[in-house]
């Protein structure tokens, strides 16, 4: 995972609530087995409208996305995060997020920032009025700033912050506790089911 320290640039004001992952990346693109290249399919159906916000030239390549409550609800598809990342989005600011989506973002290195509704509405109207307006997000200090006169502090899970700042890979961190996993396995109940009798192809149809 790459390090995330600061995100700086203009923002796409996606002024909608309950944007689900089916909208961010529709199912027909989930058949790909690659990890990259999803950006061009982000918001595929909504983008058919030329006036849809991500189509407007002034927001092209903006590294920040502003959205309304419950952004990323719905399915667990990490493809939604990959699509936003591939579009160039590095941080998303919203009043609330879908749990799995937010978690996926933290694994991929996309920063999700929860701000109060009023603050999101303020940033949203600034980005609508002044599309090139620059927002500066500083992860170390946990601040979002716009211009010299507006700044807000945001909360973030300490461990997620530590991982993002240092670009740490979760699996590596866990495997440093490999011994603990092994000792847990030794005392784990023997009554729990195992799939090793699940066998392959022993119950063919026809």
């Amino acid at each position: 995972m790459k390090e995330v320290k600061q995100v700086r640039g203009n923002a796409i004001p996606l002024n909608r609530a309950d944007v689900d992952t089916d909208q961010i990346i529709p199912k027909q693109f989930l058949k790909r087995i690659e990890r990259t290249g999803y950006g061009e399919f982000a918001f595929f159906d909504w983008r058919k409208d030329d006036d849809f916000i991500t189509n407007r030239p002034q927001y092209q390549g903006a590294p920040i996305m502003l959205a309304q409550q419950n952004f990323g609800c719905g399915s667990s598809r990490e493809h939604a995060v990959w699509a936003l990342e591939d579009m160039g989005v590095e941080a998303i600011i919203a009043p609330s997020f879908g749990d799995i989506f937010r978690n996926n973002c933290s694994k991929v290195g996309l920063l999700t920032i929860q701000l109060d509704q009023d603050d999101v509405d303020y940033l949203m109207s600034r980005a609508e009025e002044l599309p090139e307006g620059e927002i500066v997000i500083n992860l170390e200090n946990q601040t979002v700033m716009i211009g010299s006169d507006w700044s807000r502090q945001f909360k973030i899970d300490e461990f997620v912050k530590h991982r993002l700042l240092n670009g740490l890979d979760d699996i590596g961190i866990t495997l440093a506790n490999e011994e603990k996993i092994s000792s847990f396995e030794e005392i784990r109940s023997i009554f729990l089911p195992s799939t090793d009798q699940a066998g392959q192809d022993n119950l063919k149809i026809n």
């Binding site: 909208q23 087995i33 399915s75 990490e78 799995i100 991929v108 495997l175 699940a198 392959q200």
Partner: protein
Amino acid sequence: MTQPQTIVDKIWEQHVVHSEQGKPDLLYIDLHLVHEVTSPQAFDGLRMTNRSVRRPDLTLATVDHNVPTTDRTLPNPDPLSTQQIEVLRTNCNDFDIPLWDIFDLRQGIVHIISPEHGLTQPGMTIVCGDSHTSTHGAFGALAFGIGTSEVEHVLATQTLPQSRPKTMSVEVTGELGFGVTAKDVILAIIQRTGVDGGVGHVIEYRGDVIRNLSMEERMTVCNMTIEGGARAGLIAPDEKTFQYLRGKEFSPSGLDWDRQVENWKKLVSDDGAIFDKSIVLDGNNIAPHVTWGTTPAQSVPVSDVVPNPDDATTASSRETAQRALKYMGLEAGTAITDIGIDRVFIGSCTNGRIEDLRRAATIIDGQKVSSSVNAMIVPGSGKVKQQAEEEGLDVIFKDAGFEWREPGCSMCLGMNPDILLPQERCASTSNRNFEGRQGAGGRTHLVSPEMAAAAAISGNFVDVREII
């Protein structure tokens, strides 16, 4: 005296491998279910880092999301789906993971096959790269959906770093009226809590209505937990749970069974356990529900009308409702029973089990699908299909004019050819009515199997209580 604990606390504490101040707990995972769509990039990650699968014996794979539901001996016309299925085969083969493949009788929707073989048991931690993993909570397991990075993490370590969730009690009291189903219960709950009411929480469903549900009905309720924003929802195990599991292929037997049942009986929230949030719903007041919008919270009783967006309390919910009505092609004030439909889909991990098909069959028996409707039934698994055929349900459906298909996710998400055309209106027993979910431009109304069956016959929604 020890602090009273919730069932979630108990399961959590039994699975913590490692805990450290300022970090999420490392949880051991008892069962990892894998399917073709959210796994390829995870296996690629393992290869790139030279890692292996730690516990293939706690892992099970199947193909469900994009398999065709028509004759599978014919070539699959979709090269991308074929590739994804092939890639899963190769991955399972390379990493020694059991795979219930397309011609295996046990193949089916991942959340249906694990319980029906007894792999899902009380007190377990279960994950899958799919948000409806919450289904398994019906057995008193802590089960939740994960993303592909986490799939890779579980494959490599059989653990997952997780912050302890908050807990929420959802109690449904009283008794359900005639013709009111588990699907209506969960739609009513989500209508009340909103699509984000459960974010950050694990829900425990309680109360007489929940106790009186069968295991399959409990799965319907837990299945849609994620539509209310919570990643997991569970129900404390009881005699019904034990009866369901007794004698299943992966259930313990003999003395082991007795000992496990004793352990399982302890998996209840203690009296006085504190939940971070609680709601109570009166089950007597729940009617058959129909969604009218594009989120599962946008539903009303079938006897009601399409609500007016102007009645919404906030500007943003008004705007959301307006957008939804526009997408759905509906006018505020229209009676739900005046809405005509083009398609009916009975299936999915919400309502694709044998009891669902039996209940649909009671309504359909001897009737004909309306000439303006195209209706299909997709059993949730090979076993469900086989059982239904043994009971002759397939004949009832086919005689009425339903298509009888092979098991899979099918039109729940339309990754295979089973999709709605733009503006086609569908009564669906699945779980998501998002824009385009069942096909670009398609209009989905979520209902119970009974309501879907009745709509298939009438060509419009009907109050199922008036016909049974």
